[in-house]
Symmetry: C2
Subunit: 346 residues, 2 copies
DNA sequence: TTGTATGCGTTATCAT
DNA sequence: ATGATAACGCATACAA
């Protein structure tokens, strides 16, 4: 492996001079400069990142801690993170926290000396490790919330989104709106439930526990919950699922039960995953720009890294948008056009 | 930041002893050992990865270079990579190659001194950077192929998969089977085309250029190609799309043109993305386990890292599987059950 | 069983 | 404008 010494020897200069040329620090004669660049290029010299960061104490790498999640969300958030990171000259090191008990703390230990900061997602509400993360490393919490406000955090505006969707359903004439809730101790789930209840309250409708079922954020959970709702003495006329997967499960259950959507039952979801617009009928949902979420998280983190000490902790949220398709019974504004960006493998 | 020196001072021993205890190298008295562990724990000491790798010349990090791709493939391959990497005590540093001209080479430079090896995906066929990658770093090519066989590579068994699907279509009685091809210079696209032609040849059918249209791997491309096929004087009775996105686009075109699927036109795709089973009718396709792809890539790389010199370059392929649903006109074997693993956001 | 000293590849400081 | 050298945090060969 060719080091700075090799370049220096070949050019008959000291390593200091080579370093100066390659980093543009300090004055070097034009001729020497030219010679060194030429040699470095010819030798294919590349500075050793580890060694460099040892002395600069900057790695230009950002750590990303994600829970063990599947699908579109995962890739979109990474896309957003990576794009912004690269624009600032940073790379991403990714680690799934892989359901280990210790959670974030262990993972953050493993990252020490390897990264300049961490974006961590830990949506489990009573994850205690969030309370005592050593703030030695700049950290941004994603879709999670810590007790106290010692940490930067970026979340989806779940509450407002859910509230808006419920309002929309009610404006369509629905008085009995059920919710299929997300995983019990999940932050996003809790917030969406809160938004749902506020939405009802706004319209003077009293929430009923019987209309609040749990679906665990999975398709199967949504399916089961929908079935249960159909069995109710007083059926709801609309179902708001706390994510699209559950809404899709509900759609299956309704179809198999011969219940017309939206005719006999309106359905809405949350997230706007790509599948949503392909459902039959196309699913009304609350869109959140996952990509933006990632981008803004990196921006917050970079901010925390550069300001370091005099940094004021912030809490931010990314906005959501109600997307009306046919499943809720309103006029469908959107019809599925062949997407030009969606290609799966390539 | 607490270093090994801090621990040593606190424990009244030399840094060497601390190092020995923490790495289990060399003999240390039980008592000292206990004391050091206790102190290291209390001080929350964590070895500095960069410094350590400087001397051990191992980072325990694997680099991953991916093209700018969307969706499910991206997340699945990362999942496979990460799972296997973590099982071997490695982390992943991910970089999307972001359409820069220089391609792999630049990215690999940036990784020097940061990783022990690289998994790179560069499906563009005439990417010249693939010919002269400096083999200073263990490298596994994913879904790509290099001139010569100097490099390890892992690809999807595109050809066999396409061939099997075409055979299936023909067994259903189709004599005129069209293909919607993928991006012109894409490796997977080229192989799937080859498999298609072989499949025809197996049945003694002569390939017709008029039945080989290009869809660029996008949904819109599939849509346009299907329309064009419908305009043909001698229409095909079956369409094999080189990926699911294009098949889905074709499905839209057929529906809008009032062509019954599979009655008047059979359709099949490739990849088995999650959307596939939700189509109307559910899409027959060729399944490939992306997750496995990632897992095996890491295994190959780790292999190359440990064997280093006496390492023989290998080319491997991951198998595919024909998945019969309704869109091709055979009896549908599979019906969409509510998936228990598919949850989008959480 | 433990300590001392060297070096990993780089940047930064201080000379010259 | 350039060179010598210390320092970054750690592991390890060698000495004790």
């Amino acid at each position: 492996m060719v080091t700075i010494k090799d370049v220096a020897r070949e050019a008959n200069v000291s390593v200091a001079t080579v370093s100066r040329v390659l980093n543009g620090s300090g004055p070097v004669s034009a001729e020497t400069q030219r010679r060194i660049r030429e040699i470095a290029g010819r030798l294919r010299y590349v500075p050793h990142g580890g060694a460099r960061s040892l002395i600069t104490s900057r790695t230009e790498i950002l750590g990303v801690l994600l829970p063990d999640l599947y699908g579109e969300f995962f890739s979109e958030v990474i896309r957003g993170l990576d794009e912004t990171a690269q624009r600032h000259g940073f790379h991403l090191i990714i680690s799934r926290s892989h359901a280990s008990k210790h959670g974030i703390e262990t993972a953050m230990r493993a990252m020490r000396g390897r990264v300049d900061g961490v974006v961590a997602m830990s949506p489990d509400l009573d994850e205690e490790s969030l309370t005592n993360v050593p703030s030695t490393l700049p950290l941004v919490l994603l879709c999670s919330v810590s007790r106290g406000d010692a940490l930067d955090s970026l979340t989806i505006d779940n509450c407002r989104g859910a509230r808006a969707m419920v309002k929309h359903l009610i404006s369509l004439g629905h008085q009995r709106v059920a919710i299929i809730k997300g995983a019990p101790r999940n932050y996003d789930a809790a917030e969406r439930l809160r938004g749902y209840r506020l939405g009802l309250k706004d319209a003077g409708i009293k929430p009923e526990r019987a209309l609040e079922l749990e679906g665990g954020f999975t398709e199967a959970g949504g399916y089961a919950a929908a079935l249960q709702l159909l069995g109710l003495a007083e059926r709801p006329t609309a179902i708001f699922a706390a994510n699209d997967s559950m809404a899709i499960g509900a759609l299956s259950a309704l179809r198999e039960s011969g219940v017309q959507v939206p005719g006999q039952m309106a359905v809405a979801g949350f997230d706007d995953i790509p599948l949503a617009r392909y459902m039959d009928p196309p699913l009304s949902t609350v869109r959140v720009s996952i990509c933006d979420l990632g981008a803004r998280a990196v921006e917050m983190l970079l901010n925390g890294i550069t300001s370091k000490n005099e940094h004021r902790r912030k809490r931010e949220q990314v906005a959501t948008e109600v997307v009306i398709r046919s499943s809720c019974g309103a006029q469908s504004v959107e019809r599925p056009p062949p997407s030009t960006t969606n290609s799966d493998l390539h």
